[in-house]
């Protein structure tokens, strides 16, 4: 390999690609050629850095300087200034939300400084389409280790001792799951990687599949060896085209290199992996629905038992693990169970990747040790809440999860404490909400999602979530009635208790959780017909404050439905509530702040 003095790492995750990475690629190649730098500078397309709001993101090594929101037209300057003259292009550096200095090195940026990137350690650091780069960072060493030095039982033992738990939502102990599948009798067994990530706004698994596909292949192969399976499947949603393409490429490379196929490392162990695309049903993340879909049938769950470990894909014993779970496996093997068990809390070991979104300055993908507090995530990593607004709650675990209000900012984020608070780790979606968010509306949003995504097989989920949604819709439209809260709670209890699969069993959580911490907001909607956060438009009124009105006529002119009338220079003007559509245009335009939202 030739020596190259500069490495340009350009993010090619989905977000950065959408923001134009590929055009930047071309621009870089052009500029390098123009200046005859092709041999000195190496361009490395990488996976996701996690700092998606700042994308496209480019990292320049050896300095470790990070440029944000790079555009093709910036490349000329970067090449001339930075690569040729050694002068950092200040204006493209990241600026902390507190507005102080710009930060050049990635490692000094608050967003990264408080993270612990273990699962994501390769994401943004290597070219996911080059198996050599993965191997250079100890890739496939763990597989070599287990195939040549460990018995399957020893492997399961390591995973058990590490304390790794399923990252897909439920947090089931991975070692125990492997052990069940390992003990199941059957000539043919399967291992499946569940890449059907579907929570709104969550993209942890996508980033790993895009940024470090070999880690998943390696984890899957190790799992295969541990339980005695020669065939793995990766089930990934078709909506993740880049992940699909990278995984396909990685499988091809691994086969060519002999890391998949017959007699891997001369150990006599055969293992291969096939990719299967899902058609975008959220419910297919549920194990048994996934199995149906993978076998070509309608993606619907079935009752358990029998569990997949006994009767799974094509009725063979099957182990199903989530992407993030499997990506942890090679590191655990290499660094040892005690290392992993040393991270996190007593019962929740290791790190967890979260997709940080909502009312927060630094949105993106982060990884922290289990047990990290919300405060650290929101204020240290996330840079706090924009516009100086106040934190209200964090929604964790997506449509199956719940929300934590500010009293719990210092709670340890781990499986048990979240369940205790009526939320759930889920796959790691974390949405931050401030005072301008209506909790009833948030609950309605999530329920609308689960109702849409319910497969419709069992009664409580199919009809029950619909009825809950209808009650919430009524409440947000000002038609809530006394007794609605009790009805919601009662119905939620039955849906949780008697639905067929995890989707239905957790669908009421967002409602129950907001009812637990924000019941007063529900009551305000129902009794006072008022939305305290000012979100539910049916409950809003715009009114002119007579003392402030100057009768300047601006409001009447911007109103799209002629709902405001008055005589010029004879204040006050009046908003006719029966015509007003609550668009807020008048308030936005009033030069005197004379229009109030009540």
């Amino acid at each position: 390999m030739k020596y190259q003095r500069v490495h340009l790492l350009l993010c090619h995750g989905t977000a950065c690609v959408s923001a134009g990475s590929e055009k930047i690629d071309e621009a870089i190649k052009e500029e390098l050629e123009k200046h005859g730098l092709e041999k000195e500078v190496r361009l490395v397309p990488t996976g996701c850095f996690g700092f998606c709001a700042m994308g496209p993101v480019m990292l320049v090594y050896p300095e470790g300087v990070m440029y944000c929101r790079v555009k093709p037209e910036d490349i000329g300057e970067i090449v001339c200034e930075h690569l040729l003259k050694g002068r950092i292009v200040e204006r493209l550096l990241y600026k902390e939300p507190d507005g102080k200095d710009r930060v050049a090195e990635l490692s000094n940026i608050e967003f990264f400084r408080h993270q612990r990137r273990e699962v994501l350690h390769n994401c943004g650091q290597i070219n996911p389409e080059d198996i050599g780069e993965y191997i250079a960072r100890d890739g496939y060493f763990a597989l070599a280790e287990v195939l040549t030095k460990k018995t399957p039982r020893e492997v399961i033992d390591i995973i058990t001792k590490s304390g790794l738990r399923g990252r897909g939502g439920g947090g089931f102990p991975t070692g125990r799951k492997w052990s069940y599948a390992g003990h199941a009798t059957g000539e043919i067994k399967y291992v499946i990687c569940n890449g059907d990530e579907g929570d709104p706004g969550a993209f942890m698994d996508r980033s790993i599949m895009e940024g470090d596909p070999h880690a998943i292949l390696e984890g899957l192969a190790i799992a295969g060896y541990a339980i005695g399976s020669a065939q793995g499947y990766i089930y990934v949603r078709a909506e993740y085209p880049i992940a699909v393409q990278r995984l396909e490429h990685a499988i091809g490379e691994a086969r060519k290199t002999g890391l998949l196929g017959k007699d891997i490392f001369g150990s006599g162990f055969d293992f291969d992996i096939e990719l299967r695309l899902g058609a975008g049903a959220f419910v297919c993340g549920e194990e048994t629905a996934l199995l149906h879909s993978l076998a070509g049938r309608r993606g619907e769950p079935r009752p358990r038992p029998p569990f997949p470990a006994v009767d799974g894909l094509f009725h063979r014993p099957t182990l199903i693990n989530n992407v993030e779970t499997l990506a942890n496996v090679p590191r655990i093997i290499l660094k040892g169970a005690p290392w992993f068990a040393g991270i996190g809390t007593e019962k929740s070991k290791g790190t967890k990747v979260f997709a940080l979104a909502g009312k927060i300055n630094n949105t993106g993908l982060i990884e922290v040790p289990m047990g990290t507090s919300l405060r650290t995530i929101i204020y240290d990593i996330g840079g706090g809440i924009p516009k100086g607004r106040e934190f209200k709650a964090a929604q964790i675990g997506g449509p199956s999860g719940g929300c934590l209000p500010k009293e719990y900012l210092d709670t340890s984020l781990d499986y048990e404490s979240l369940i205790e608070l009526g939320a759930m780790m889920g796959s790691g979606g974390l949405i931050v909400m401030d005072e301008s968010d209506c909790m009833v509306d948030i609950a309605r949003f999530f329920l609308e999602f689960t109702q849409d995504e319910s497969c419709g097989k069992c009664t409580p989920c199919r009809v029950g979530t619909k009825r809950m949604l209808e009650i919430l819709q009524r409440i947000t439209q000002g038609e809530g009635e006394e007794g609605d809260i009790e009805l919601l709670k009662s119905l939620a209890e039955d849906i949780k208790g008697s639905s067929l699969c995890g989707l239905g069993q957790t669908a009421p959580n967002p409602v129950l959780s907001t009812l637990r911490f924000f019941e007063d907001e529900y009551i305000a909607h129902i009794r006072d017909k008022r939305c305290p956060a000012g979100v539910c438009s049916s409950l809003l009124r715009f009114e002119i404050i007579p003392e402030k009105c100057t009768a300047c006529t601006v409001c009447a002119r911007v109103c799209p439905v002629e709902a405001i009338s008055g005589t010029p220079r004879k204040p006050p003007f009046v908003i006719h509530q029966d015509i007003c559509i609550k668009c807020g245009a008048c308030q936005a335009k009033c030069p005197f702040g004379a229009i109030a939202k009540v």
């Binding site: 009664t459 199919r462 029950g464």
Partner: protein
């Protein structure tokens, strides 16, 4: 064996039993709705939930396997509330038009609402109001009444293997539907009506044709003739509370007369005629060397299955019409002339165990009399409704006899109503015609009768050994057809579209599925047994001995397979696609 505790009672059951079955065994009546043991074990309705110690959520007992030491509670407040809620949720999207519903008083959902004392439904909200599918003349759907139990999917795909139904859409919009939301009339529905039989509500049933019958009966201009299929006399009693398999031939005839039919005839007569025609057709094939196997044609459900799924086998299917179609053609020619009634004013009504026959009478081929051969088909269930409406005390009616001449039949015609009956009847005749000796029935009874899906036998004929086969339910038909295509040799194969033959027809009284699918096959067997018993009391037991059959050949048809026979009693078939649109004539 596994021992578990249900509501503090210990119960020992075989491994693999469901908690629900185990509870039923000790008299704990867990309610169920979607469950149909052996056919539909999916746990969708959630009405049978129970508490299982150690499980956070409630479990559907119909699909939860027993395990040693399992502790189950079936009537805790939590369980009862969840069951009520599931029912109330189902009702909240249901039309709740019980008073004017097809299945009023015979609906599993209604019965459970009653059992759970549901006096109010706390949920209001959207009801899906999908339009009814009324295009098919044989089977209609009221999707708004569907509770998504999926029994129809199970029976259509597992038993009949016609794969008409599947679950479509998601969430609240999810429903059961033929492909692409098409009408049953536009897909490869074989119109057998088995889906209607297993449906717990009125989401699937036959279209009601009783109105047309009443109109004809009340029209003084019309001469209304009714014929009754063999199996009706052993099933109709169930509609009036009699035991399964009760024989009610005399009451049936009496009831039909009181309803106002001008003549009450027996389809068994034309069943005998079928044997004469089809028997000779088969003997011709024996003589000319094929094509074999010869496939029977009296089940219109099977015929349509063959047209859709095995069009390449249609040349093997007997050209003989089904018995009731033959009857229609003869009633409007031979009989009309004999009694001096203008066939244009004659209305032929068939009481059939069958929904497929509603389709069959509308085939363009079924007009050989110059008119529509049969005007209306009503099912056993529809006849029961007419009898109730007329206020007849059915059980206590004096027994009466069928009218002559089309009411005289042999036992061979009667056993057409059970699987294997057609073949047995055919053998009784062709064996005797060829050998001059009586068919040695006792040695074949075992292999020709009963509810095994596939049956077969070998019979020594002067032409050599012939191999015969029997299949009932089109899923079993598929099996035997695949064997045939793989090269297995049969000479004569009887195929009935419905499981059990006509006694299990899609138009028969709705069976209780409490004992599961296997149990329903036992009920079908009970009905069939009654046919075999009733047959023994008849004066003639072979079709060719029926004096009226001899007479009709003498007076009208000449001989089997004569020109006029061919014109009136034989038909042709249409190759149809498994998929919508293409339709070609063979």
């Amino acid at each position: 064996m596994v021992t578990l505790t249900i509501d503090e009672q210990k119960v020992t059951v075989p491994e693999g039993t469901s908690v629900l079955e185990a509870a039923w065994k000790i008299g704990i009546d867990i309610p169920s709705l979607c469950y149909l043991k052996g056919l539909n074990e999916v746990g969708t309705c959630r009405v049978c939930v129970v508490e299982i110690e150690g499980s956070k959520t409630l479990q559907a007992s119909c699909v939860y396997p027993v395990a040693e030491g399992l502790v189950v509670r079936t009537n805790t407040p939590r369980v009862l509330k969840a069951r009520r809620t599931a029912l109330q949720l189902l009702l909240s999207e249901h039309p709740q038009d019980c008073l004017s519903c097809y299945r009023n008083m015979n609906c599993e959902l209604q019965a459970l609402a009653h059992r759970f004392n549901i006096l109010e439904i706390p949920f209001r909200g959207e009801k899906r109001e999908p339009p009814n599918d009324e295009k098919s003349v044989a089977v209609m759907r009221e999707p708004a009444k569907c509770i998504r139990c999926r029994r129809c999917i199970a029976v259509c795909s597992k038993v009949q293997q016609a794969f008409v139904y599947s679950a479509v859409h998601r969430g609240f919009d999810s429903m059961v539907s033929p492909a692409f939301g098409l009408s049953l009339d536009d897909v490869a529905c074989i119109t057998c009506g088995q889906c209607a039989n297993v449906c717990p509500t009125a989401a699937i049933h036959e279209p009601d044709n009783t109105k047309e019958v009443w109109e004809a009966l009340h029209d003084p201009e019309k001469w209304v003739v009714v014929q009754v299929a063999p199996s009706i006399r052993v099933t109709l009693g169930e509609e009036f509370g009699l035991q399964i398999g009760s024989v009610v031939t005399g009451q049936l005839v009496a009831a039909l007369r009181r309803l106002g039919f001008d003549k009450v005839f027996d389809t068994d007569f034309t069943a005998d005629l079928t044997i004469m025609e089809e028997g000779h057709e088969f003997l011709e094939k024996l003589k000319s060397g094929g094509p074999f196997p010869h496939l029977s044609s009296c089940s219109p459900g099977w015929v349509k299955y063959c047209e859709h799924f095995y069009p390449e086998m249609l040349e093997h299917v007997s050209t003989v019409k089904s018995p009731h179609s033959m009857f229609g053609a003869l009633a409007k020619t031979y009989h009309a002339e004999k009694i001096g009634v203008d066939p244009a004013r004659m209305v032929v009504v068939s009481v059939m165990p069958c929904t497929a026959k509603k389709y069959e009478i509308n085939r363009p081929e079924m007009t050989d009399s110059g008119f529509k051969d049969v005007d209306v088909v009503i099912t056993t269930r529809e006849l029961a409704r007419m009898i109730r409406e007329a206020g007849l005390d059915f059980i206590n009616l004096p027994e009466e006899e069928f009218d002559e001449p089309l009411g005289i039949a042999s036992g061979a015609g009667l056993i057409f109503g059970a699987t294997g009956g057609v073949l047995e009847a055919a053998l009784r005749t062709i064996y005797e015609l060829e050998t001059g000796k009586e068919f040695p029935l006792p040695q074949y009874e075992q292999s020709l009768r009963g509810m095994d899906g596939l049956k077969e036998a070998e019979v020594e004929m002067p032409q050599g050994l012939i191999r015969v086969g029997i299949a009932h339910g089109t899923g079993n038909a598929k099996q035997i057809l695949e064997k045939i295509k793989a090269g297995e040799k049969y000479h004569f194969v009887e195929i009935m579209g419905c499981p059990g033959g006509c006694v299990g027809g899609g138009g028969q009284p709705i069976l209780s599925f409490r004992r599961g699918w296997e149990g329903s096959m036992d009920y079908r067997m009970d009905r069939a047994d009654s046919l075999y018993k009733a047959e023994q009391e008849l004066p003639y037991r072979k079709s060719h001995e029926n004096p009226e059959i001899k007479k009709i050949y003498r007076e009208f048809l000449g001989h089997p397979l004569s020109e006029i026979s061919h014109k009136l009693l034989h038909t042709s078939y249409t190759a149809r696609s498994r998929y919508p649109l293409s339709k070609t004539k063979v």
